[in-house]
């Protein structure tokens, strides 16, 4: 009898549970949404009891939070940060600007569909989302990880041409390496 499959499955279940309970976030404070992150982390809402904790650098982080609108200029840096993170990694789009452009829907410099450029696992809607909504977003992400559905990093690698094509379409001066993680 072949135990290998069961062993793999068991390992995956155990690692997924561990990953879901230990989310180190890199709060990329692109817009006004960054102000909700301290409220979520500190004493009233205390995200650390869910295992959510701030990471200092992209190398140590698991979750990239895009908190607010993204201009083209910032997107370039965000892509770079995302590719420096280590697998498995997740992206949370935060606030209505990240969802569909929000109030910047006719701006000449703000992207309106984040998931064209980065694989987003969870969107948190609201302008601004309250800390309760942020915590619910984390809970949703944890559920997805436990169910093995949050495979954004794999998706990004598999469809790299698609994402690169979209990124290069709006970033005119493409001056960083093709694949830098």
């Amino acid at each position: 009898m072949d135990y290998g499959i069961y062993q793999d499955k068991l390992t995956r279940i155990v690692t997924d549970i561990a990953r879901s309970h230990s989310l180190w976030i890199l709060a990329y404070g692109t817009g006004c949404g960054a102000i909700e992150v301290p409220a979520t982390m500190t004493s009233r809402y205390d995200a650390e009891r869910l295992g959510v904790r701030g990471a200092a650098t992209p190398r140590q982080a698991d979750v990239l939070m895009i908190t607010g609108y993204l201009t083209v200029k910032t997107l370039k840096r965000v892509i770079r940060v995302y590719e420096q993170m280590q697998d498995p990694k997740y992206v949370i789009g935060f606030g209505s600007c990240a969802v569909n452009g929000g109030m910047y829907w006719d701006s000449y410099n703000t992207i309106k569909q984040l998931d064209l450029y980065l694989p987003v696992d969870v969107y948190i809607s609201g302008c601004m989302p309250r800390p309760e909504a942020v915590l619910e977003g984390f809970a949703k992400l944890q559920e997805q990880i436990r169910a093995g559905e949050a495979r954004g990093a794999t998706k990004y690698k598999d469809n790299l041409d698609y994402y690169r094509g979209n990124q290069k379409k709006i970033i005119k001066n493409w001056d960083f390496p093709d694949y830098n993680w």
Partner: protein, 303 residues
Amino acid sequence: MEGILMSILGAIATFLLAFVVGMTYGGIRRKVIARVQNRYGPPIYQNFIDAFKLFSKTTAVHHGAMHLLGPAFLMVSAVVALMIIPVLRDNIWFTNLNFKGDLIFLIYIMTFGPLGMALGAGQTGNPNSAIGVTRGLSQMVGFEIPWVMALVALMIKYNTTSVVDLMNVQNEVGQWLIFQNPFAFVAAILASLGMFRYAPFNIVGAPTELASGPASENGGKFLFTMMSAGSVFAFVKLTLLVDVFFGGASNLIELVIKTFLLYMIPVMYGVVNPRYRTEQAVTYFWGWPLLFGFLAIIYSVYF
């Protein structure tokens, strides 16, 4: 043959004990900090989850051989120190590799790990790492002096350089060394505040200003190794303090109680203090701790 097997099993048991106790203490520390900040806090086993997750992450960072070896140096230093220190008195499981002069060797090996890490951090080329290393070495210059003076005072007084001999002295006299030479204990515990690198002495890995310093390029398995080494090292330092000043421990429960109470000193000092700047930290160690170190030596020589 049986003796060798027993030693190997004992070494593994020692390591597992140090790992588990160190990790749990780290979890308790996070809980304590959370409670002081009026939060609920993560569960006590959160550090194990974090460590397992870090271990299960892929590693696609490569900056060169020294960078790969940096966390390994930390681990080697922690494990070697653990193997030298007598964990329990007269126990066949925790016999360890004591020898005459191990106190001097311990002083050396406890600075070896951070030095190796500094070399590894230097190769990453990250400016934050370089600043962190500079700060770490400055701080080490600060706390090593009172620390060495405290131990030297004991060496002069009892004319020995062995941890086991110091433990035996305490048994024979029937009085702990903390009462026989309190100045040495104060100097040592103040130096250990810097050795633990908790606030206010967390200037090396200051996450908000240095992006975790020497660890800033280390994610995944590197960070797992650093975290485990840190936990083992915390256990080593606490056990050494217990052995030298509190007469060691004859069973595990006694050991855990004594080390936990000692561990709460840097933790509690940390939660109520903000971060020092580098020169403030160095001047701190060259103030009262150094004075207590001198007093300890004078006390040992003349009384």
